[in-house]
Amino acid sequence: MSKPLLEIKGLHVGFKVFEGIVKVLDGVNIKVWPFEKVGIVGETGCGKTTTIKAIMRILTGNSLVTPKSEILFEGKNILRMNKSEIEQIRRNKIAMVFQDPTSSLNPVFSVGTQLNDIVKYTYKENKPGEKKLKEDFKQKIMQILKKVYLPDPERMYQSYPIQLSGGMRQRVCIAMALIGRKELLIFDEPGTSLDVTIKDQIFRLIIQIISERKTSMILISHNLGDVKNVVERVYVMYAGYIAEVAKTKEFFDNPLHPYSKGLLLATPKLSGGIGEGISGHIPNYANPPKGCRFHPRCKYRMLICSEKKPPLFNINDSHQVACFLFQNRSNCK
């Protein structure tokens, strides 16, 4: 079996704040294979964006990543890379589309200026010695803007973010991520701040791009419905750790983790009913519960759940659950 493109092993991330040290990520394990589409689902605040930012190494200054954490991309540990290697990764290997397109675009520079700089540095290393002209860059930018179906690319180039609608800004952000030959594209809750029809368009665009470009993808959402028809595997994240991972069909047919079950039940269905919620709320990261972080809200909790952290138990080749309920079912690692 081929090696995974991206492998996150035991990622622990904390932040220094007023209350002390907030331990957000508590051992995250994620694998993404080449050309694979993976989804990460979880409620707001569970650490999805923190994980992604850790991959790109753009966490804020007060962040702490434990030395034992590993993020392997094509075999090399991103967390140990030096400045130029990381810049290479950002320019030519991995790209991210942020959650809020409005705050991802610099308001005092035109769209064209920002795109131009990205293009300039992405293509800088490709053919050393060959002088790239401004026109080449502009042409490339026009190509990309057309790719994301932005009308009137010439005017778009001169516009400032404030002049664009939410949907257009989202497309610009996607365009930025598409510059260069990337191997992994990460979408953080695309279309969250947009209305439903626009969000649908954006999703279609994303699916089209992924299939055309044959890159791997990580799609993050707090909404199970978003990932169902798009990704091949689903990771369920809760309070900074992976609760369950399975192939999409298997996950929706047979969710195992009590949290996953709760999520699926909570979705309102066309057939009627609002659905049940999961009582309680996400833990306080400054003082998280001992053992399994979900146990205070879990109706199946056992004694061991409040004492030890459940590892990911293998149910079968592609399905793993971090829950002691399935300890016996697993081929224990």
């Binding site: 007023f18 009582s279 309680g280 709320h281 205070p296 809200r297 109706k299």
Partner: protein, 296 residues
Amino acid sequence: MSKNIYIQKKTSKKWENIQRSWYSFSRNRLSVIGLIVILLVIFIAIFAPYISPSPESAGLYINFSGANQPPSLSNLCGTDGIGRDVLSRIFFGFRISLFMVIVVLALVAPFGVVMGVMAGYFHNNLIGIIIMRITDMLLAIPPLLLALVICSTLNPNVVNAMIAISIGWWPWYCRLIYGYTISIKGEDYVRSAEVIGASNIHILFKEILRNCLSPILTKMSLDAGVIILIASMISFIGLGAQPPTPDLGSMVADGCKYLPELWWISVFPAFGILITALSFNLIGDGIGKIFMKVRG
């Protein structure tokens, strides 16, 4: 199926906010230093008659035999041309500086804020228009110049200097609050309070002030530093405190005649101005940071 209900401990929000603000503030070592120094200056100012080595130096006192002495153990900052102890005069000078700052801010901030709120609320009315026109007129001239002109018109003394500075200063607060009032006036929560029937003035002050408190406080603390500088400039020219009143600015001016040999007569009062203004600036920065952190 049992329902787990979380009972959250009710902490007093206000106390927690104060604690949080203090934590933010105390993170900047420089701001804390500024606070300590200002407290020291305030202490010195209050107890000046008791802790100065020579309290009579602050008034009419002539001692030609001890004049022009360099800093020594008996006179830590030396003596000036008439034999007065410079250190004691600096202590009393702090009184005047702090007095000016406190009085000016105490006058200017409330007046400017009230004016701004009224101008904003009645901004389609004659009242609002008049207030803003007056504000703009006063803002069209730099505060220092206005103060200089007023001071040269009236008799030069400390009170008139304060009046002069205040006249030029309140428009800044008025304009600041006017902007906020205009933007908040349209907000829904003000309108809904109106619908419920709360009295207009009540809405105005509560909602608007609650939102504007942070920029007002930040501005006040930064202004304190600037006011010290402007006041010292006015006294330096001679339009402020008159002799024998010990004012830091006029002390620097007096000492200019004796430069560079008798440097201490100017340098120590200048240093007094420096540390007072500096501490206010540091505090102002710290306060600004608190509100930035609490918001973001």
